[in-house]
Amino acid sequence: MTPANNPLYTQVVDVTMSYLGPAAERFISRQIETHLKKNPEDLVVEDLEILVDWIKVAIALLTEDQRIVDDFTKSLMALAENSPAS
């Protein structure tokens, strides 16, 4: 399975695009590989909470606007609530 075939991964990248644009997919892949120690295509709903925590730390380094950080993490957590458990 490629990352593009994983609906959850695609949704996470789509949300991230609103904040990081062309760098979104690279950013998400890097967070998954570095912090979750797994391939991006293997992302599951149970990983989202930990992933969002790491993304929150990373995004806080890129912007001083706390609203952007909060909106971003809320959007990602909404994916966990809306996605069926794997």
Partner: protein, 305 residues
Amino acid sequence: MRNTRTMIAVLATLIITYTAVLLLLPADPSIVQRFSLSSFQLILLKLSVVIPIALIWAAAFYGSVLMSNYSAKISATKEGKAYRKIALGLQILAIGSPFISISSNLLRYWATMHPDTLASTQILTHYLQLGVAAAAFYYIYCGAELLKQLTRKNPSAWVHAVTGLALALLTGIFCLITLNRTSGSVVVSSGQAVYYLPDWLIVASIIIPYAYVWHWGAKAAMYVHFYRLKVAGLIYRNAFNMLASGIGVVMLSSIATQYFTALGVTTRMQLQPLLIVIYLLLTLMAIGYILIALGSKRLQKIEDV
């Protein structure tokens, strides 16, 4: 990292060479006489130019290195090729400016020692400046156009019209000033000629090429700004905004420098206003390069976290 070390070594070499050339070579006697400078005042004047120039070159090198490293990091992506071309253009600017400063000082000294070569050395200096500006802005323009193509859209017709009109106005004024103040012969009533070329050759080899170079620069700034407006990503766009602004300011300062030369002000102004003009241009360039450096740093950070 190797690229960074290489660029630091190149920058250090150029600054040391420029400082040595400026301090060790005797000043043009006509300038010393015209401004009634003592030896000590002359050294102070030279240092007052060397230090801010060195800082500007350092900012330019810093910005170009960061852009180069960023483009290498994303080389496999769709926008990687565009950034690589922009980075190359910025590196040409960064290396070209000190190279021209050193060359022009050496050529000016050579002309002082061999007055019959004054025209040749001036012509060579102008063509060196034109060559560096042309190469740098061409690559920045090519990279910016690639970025624009990624948006799959085009700037509106009125943006093209306003840019075209502004360029036409600038070029027209430049043409008027250049042909009015300079002469194909050696001396005009106000003092030294600037280009030492017949009018038709000034038009063909100076005015038209510079108009095209500024066209590249203006289009590059327009496309980079357009990409910034259209690209997705709040945080990404903020980083890119600085880069777009920096490219625009650097282009403006380059045009301003050419106007300054075309006016032949160096042969007419008093020392104090002359220094004010020089420092204003230097400040403008420094602002542009700092914005490029800051934008590059933010883009790089997005890839590092």
